[in-house]
Symmetry: C2
Subunit: 325 residues, 2 copies
């Protein structure tokens, strides 16, 4: 069975989905929908670029619509709007707003008899699965999540809003000593400062006051003031050459004990050269699963917690049992 | 809802299940069934010890029967025998025979309208899940599994069968350089010898020829001849004091690339003080899931690949979305 998917929104994530489809023979990309003028959107493949409005009637021939947008303003509107018309998936990642987003998407999907999966990706997504499996198996223990080394878009944006800053990139870096203490089973109580450091690469506007900018970064509430921060001033050329990739990753650990007192450590980690390309690869695997759930007559919203792992794979159950179990 | 479980077979695994139940408030251990004389079986809890024959009529009040036995001879008989009478779970771990075992258990479970989950544990089990998720997300890449540091029961038994050996324990140890090469994304082609070393602690019978025993170990086909092996001769007291724990663990890695060529590494690892206690904890979490699948009207055999992760947790879906996603 071929799954026909379409993309709504052609940014880094949409481009990643377009790329991931080429690695999955059973998935066909049938359209890239955009809210911009389609004539202005150059895509990497021969996929037709179509106006988003064409989705409105709910009559496009699509098994799963992958909604690629930001969690702040795009997805809270787009996913509920389309969940009644198509099977959809998004990567909504504002953890605190997941319950509200789920409720809105679930109502629309049930009404339309469609399947919607929210918050797919790696965190939320694969990291959430690591937390759930580990907590279910070791009910008594401590959870630790470390992010990085990787670019934090939110922190980079925050630096760019400081007067005198022309451009900036911020890396979140786990503190190796903290990670090692967790791995040794010491179950440390870690403060924010003890878990991560933040490294900033900043390009100044001409004539800007470097010391003032550094102060503004280091003391920025919530974003930086609780961390040890390094600020490096570099040229735009160096930023473009050395810091234009989008690596990320991290570590999810659960350190627990069975009732005898014996210690156990479960660790899941990702090291990603491209955060959006990897997230897109997760979306495509879950799109396959959604098509199967829809074909089985399911409807409503779900998350990675609700999807049997076998549905992610192009292989049949007997092959999976023989080769992956 | 309380899930009533019972244990069939009271060895290391059965004892681990008995222990794991104490960490799960929604699970009640209602019986320990044994093929030995129940009067001779001392258990750690106040659970009634009952003759296995009492299970035969299929009338015991049990939601899930956890079958704790060896994969060589016990489980191929026991799991199909009880799968038609009770919802069951086992930790069958002879990878090559999984398809045949699945077929036998599936036929019995379908006939009886029961749910049966085979091959739960960590390998097969959690490691299988790590392989499946990682392969589904990164279809182009290489898989690596390293085991240890841990006691291999099979290799310890093989040493004990050598004339002149009184007792022995064998540790399987991943080669750090190989693991690091994989983590660096080098996608190495690794021989058996390059992946693991084997360390043996051997107690000789009085008057036995140490050199001959060492030769016999090192040259043993399949078990040792393809590995770098260290043999240490120690006293029974030292073996008992230093090597009676049952630690194990390992690493599952997938190193892959998205279509752009960007590299990604997914790693899952376990470090376990007690192999049987951890395996038992996995069995108990999946017993909860089986009870839920049975309550939802499912029947037939399944594996960890078929179980939605949320079913493993005592928490409700809305709580999981709010706190684990």
């Amino acid at each position: 069975m071929t799954t026909k998917i379409a993309i709504l929104g052609y940014g880094n994530l949409g481009r990643g989905v377009e790329m991931a489809v080429t690695q999955n023979d059973d998935i066909e990309l049938v359209g890239i929908y955009t809210r911009r003028d389609p004539a202005t959107v150059k895509v990497a493949s021969a996929t037709p670029v179509l106006p988003a409005a064409q989705l409105d009637a709910g009559t496009e021939d699509i098994d799963v619509l992958i909604i690629c947008g930001g969690s702040a303003t795009d997805l809270p509107k787009l996913t509920p709007a389309y969940a009644g018309k198509y099977n959809v998936i998004d990567s909504f990642d504002t953890h605190a707003n997941i319950p509200a987003h789920f409720a809105a998407v679930d109502a629309a999907a049930r009404e339309g008899g469609k399947v919607a999966l929210i918050s797919a990706g790696w965190d939320p997504g694969l990291f959430s699965l690591a937390r759930l499996y580990a907590n279910s198996i070791l009910p008594q223990g401590n959870d630790y999540t470390f992010w990085g080394k990787g670019i934090s878009q939110g922190h980079s944006d925050a630096i760019r809003r400081i007067p005198g800053v022309r451009d900036a990139k911020q890396y979140t870096i786990p503190v190796p000593e903290a990670l090692e203490a967790v791995r040794r089973g010491e179950n440390p109580q870690l403060t924010t400062r003890e878990k991560h450091t933040r490294e900033c690469f900043v390009v100044l506007e001409e004539g800007a006051d470097a010391a003032a900018v550094a102060e503004a970064i280091i003391n920025m509430p919530n974003y930086f003031d609780e961390y040890d921060v390094t600020v490096n001033f570099i040229s735009q050329e160096e930023l473009n050459e050395q810091h234009s990739a989008m690596p990320h990753g991290g570590f999810v650990l659960r350190s627990g004990a069975t009732a005898s007192g014996n210690q156990h450590l479960i660790e899941y980690s990702l090291k990603l050269d491209s955060n959006p390309e990897f997230t897109s690869s997760v979306l495509v695997a879950y799109a396959r699963a959604i098509a199967r759930l829809a074909a089985a007559g399911k409807s409503g919203a779900c998350t990675v917690f609700d999807v049997p792992p076998a549905l992610l794979s192009p292989y049949q159950p007997d092959y999976l049992r023989a080769h992956f179990l």
